[in-house]
Amino acid sequence: MDFGFTPEQEALRREVRDFIAEHLTAEIVEELEGLTEGFGVSRSVGRGPLVSRLFDEIAKRGWLGISYPKEYGGQDGDRITQYIVEEEFARVGIAVGLAGSGAPAILAAGTEEQKRAFIPKLISGEYSFALGFTEPQAGADLASLQCRAVRDGDDYVINGQKMYTSAAHTATHVYLMARTDTAVPKHQGISIFLVPMDTPGLTVRPLWTIQNEPRAPLGTTYGAYRTNETFFDDVRVPKTTLLGKENEGWGVGSMGLNLDRVGAARYLISVRRDEDIVNWVKTNRFDGYSPADDPAIRDKIAELWIEAQVCRLMTMRSMSIVEHGGHFTYEGAAEKIWAPEHGVRTSEAITQMLGPYGQLLNGSPYAVEKGIFAHNLMGAFQSGINHGSVQVMRDQVARRGLGLPSARRAGRPEAGR
């Protein structure tokens, strides 16, 4: 067992850091903050000219899609190397990694045409997905979803509604979970479709989150200021948009979601503010008082650091499972509980350390670091819900990790994800 990185991997990390130090200029940060749709800036979310150029430079170095096959626009590299690049960029608020519900699922379940059509463009950033899973009455109990796709000749006709379809307003496609058979048990009648956003009958309506105004600065934990409702009115798509086999979408969808629950971005949205507060504590003095000398602050910071290490080790374990071709279920769920809840504990503790200034949002002249800690306090709670709430994740750990039977409570559906 080796918990370290190889000398080559360490060299790559330094190279990426040097690249970021050289290329991430104040002008680019300004452009990124103007553009951000709140998810960490991904190359696929409407880019300005400077950000586009930055991504061209990143691509030139072969740092996009490292672990994907060369024939689909990748580098035939390994997952850990890709993780290192993702981690360094995520640290400065830039997403170079790909969501699990997307390229990895297409690679695993897609047809050859789908792999060729989607993966290179997802890697280059030309395409991006919004995740169309949750519905008004199907969230924790996702398998109860009612959105229907009915086969009509060589097409499917989709009718239904999705909630919290984050990024639907910027994405090129929606990665949609819909019911294709109403006569079988609920997990069995579900399929996944890759639906272009400009298909007639597809409507997007904004849902504003607690991060809405003032907008969170670049790098804030989660920080989505807009998510959406999405409506499908007789949306007709060819059968070639079906990902995997009809009625086998639950397995395909779960595989992608499990990957969404882990990885560099997930880990870093939960721990980046720990590093920021350590730097802030070290570098600030007020009328002879140094927070770095305060025993209560030192204790708290040490405690948070230990928790952050647990986040990191869980992430490395997930990456190692992926690298060795394994699949994880409850391991991802455990990580999806620990890291967001660590983010909540951290942001609360930091707000206490900073006192009233820690509650000032972006735009206030007295806000600490553009109010990032205050925005984080709100955003941290979001990450405990999306991609599967922490309660549902606990249920998965209990069932799949510990072998306990499914919980069935009066008036509560069985947790589905």
Binding site: Q137, Q146, Q161, H169, A171, T199, T203, V204, L207, F231
Partner: protein
């Protein structure tokens, strides 16, 4: 077309809830959230006067058996 809100009984303008007000970055139509609301339930669209009505419905869909579906 006018629909009737199953919760408060008021008339809801279906067309207004669907009227295009803009377009997303990649071509989906956008609508104004203030212009009525709807939900896909039991295989068909149900229109509500307000989000409050929709929330009441979502909490107890079985209290409106005329709408059918699960």
């Amino acid at each position: 077309m006018k629909a009737t809100c199953p919760v408060c009984g008021k008339a809801v303008d279906e067309a207004a809830a669907r009227t295009k007000t803009g377009e997303t970055a990649h071509g989906a139509q956008e609508v104004d959230p203030a212009k009525g609301t709807r939900q896909f339930h039991g295989g068909r669209w149900v229109y509500f006067d307000t989000l409050g009505c929709r929330t009441k419905f979502m909490a107890r869909p079985d209290a409106y058996p005329s709408l059918g579906g699960a």
